[in-house]
Symmetry: C2
Subunit: 205 residues, 2 copies
């Protein structure tokens, strides 16, 4: 990894732990293994580093949204894909996504940084909301809606179901971000949540 990229990497780590205002340029430089003035050959200043991080994050989030097939080029085709998923995979999907969000280093650091900085900048607040609330609700809404079968549920109910399915993941994610020692507890209760949810909303609706 080149110096320019390493600066972004170390800065993201520091920003996610202490927040933008509490990180000093010299601190970033030290972790990269250079002196502060050298850093200015790569970026115009501290703000420019932050902006570069946010830009990269936007790209990655967009990429991820595409992988989830939300906001893809062809929503109708996406719906067919959801419908073809075996029901069992739906059960595991939640825990897999949870594990990814929790363990992927880049994702985890971005989420913590957004949590700290979201009130400074409307753009960051929107990014947080899209990625951790609205996109997942759309995604699970599409999955649940298609899995339950057309016409079985009203459109409104799909939104409520998506909220009921996803919100526990969101809550336990915030728990584990603050106290990683509670991950086992989190996955345990989320497993029960998924099973109970499936029992209540099973095909017998």
């Amino acid at each position: 990894m080149n110096t320019k990229q390493r600066i972004l990497d170390e800065a993201l780590t520091l920003f996610s732990e202490k927040g933008f205002a509490n990180v000093f340029v010299g601190e970033i430089a030290e972790r990269v293994g250079i002196k502060a003035p050298s850093l200015y050959k790569h970026y115009k200043g501290k703000q420019a580093i932050f902006d570069a991080i946010i830009e990269e994050m936007h790209h990655r989030f967009l990429e991820q949204a595409r992988l989830l097939r939300i906001r893809g080029d062809n929503p109708e085709q996406d719906a067919e894909v959801y419908g073809s998923l075996p029901e069992d995979r739906l059960v595991r999907l939640g825990l897999d996504l949870f594990g990814y969000e929790l363990h992927d280093d880049y994702t985890r650091r971005c989420r913590k940084m957004l949590t700290i900085e979201q009130f400074h900048n409307q753009d960051l607040a929107s990014a947080y909301m899209s990625h951790y609330v609205d996109d997942p609700l759309l995604y699970h809404g599409a999955l649940l809606g298609t899995a339950a079968g057309k016409g079985v549920l009203r459109a409104e109910d799909v939104k409520v179901m998506a909220l009921q399915f996803y919100a526990p993941f969101y809550l336990m994610l915030t728990v584990c971000d603050r106290d990683p020692g509670r991950e086992a507890e989190a996955t345990g209760i989320l497993e029960k949540h998924i099973r109970l949810f499936n029992k209540l909303y099973g095909r017998s609706v």
Copy 2:
């Protein structure tokens, strides 16, 4: 309100909007209507102001926890109170608590400040977790457990039910903190959530 208290009040507002590091002593003083040096007659420094805010918050949170009858002196008596609640009140309880959390000025500012500062200080992270995750889960667990009747559900299920009931409130609270314009949407979907939850878990279990 005396000057000493007004300092805390204005400081809390600023800390909740910008975070501790981005608020300057002169800024707090200006809002109070004095000059920065005068402020040092009331508090030793910026950190002392923050500490005083946190101390007051802890007191209020403890008070609130008592009102919720969680961690009261007599858990057995509390359980009886829960059991005597008409089922209809359970339905409204959620929306009332949601409205309180959202509209009470002190609560809202504390929550936003904790959100920003939680990763700097383990004590703040714990306060956030207790007040916005663990206490509500205990509270709703006790309510739901008692309402469902002794022996009808296993103890584990009560924890999952509490999570499924409360998590949507938590998620929509974070939404409204970032974008107050979405409050109508939030209360709308939470109403549906409560009705659907009651239908699924109704006494016919």
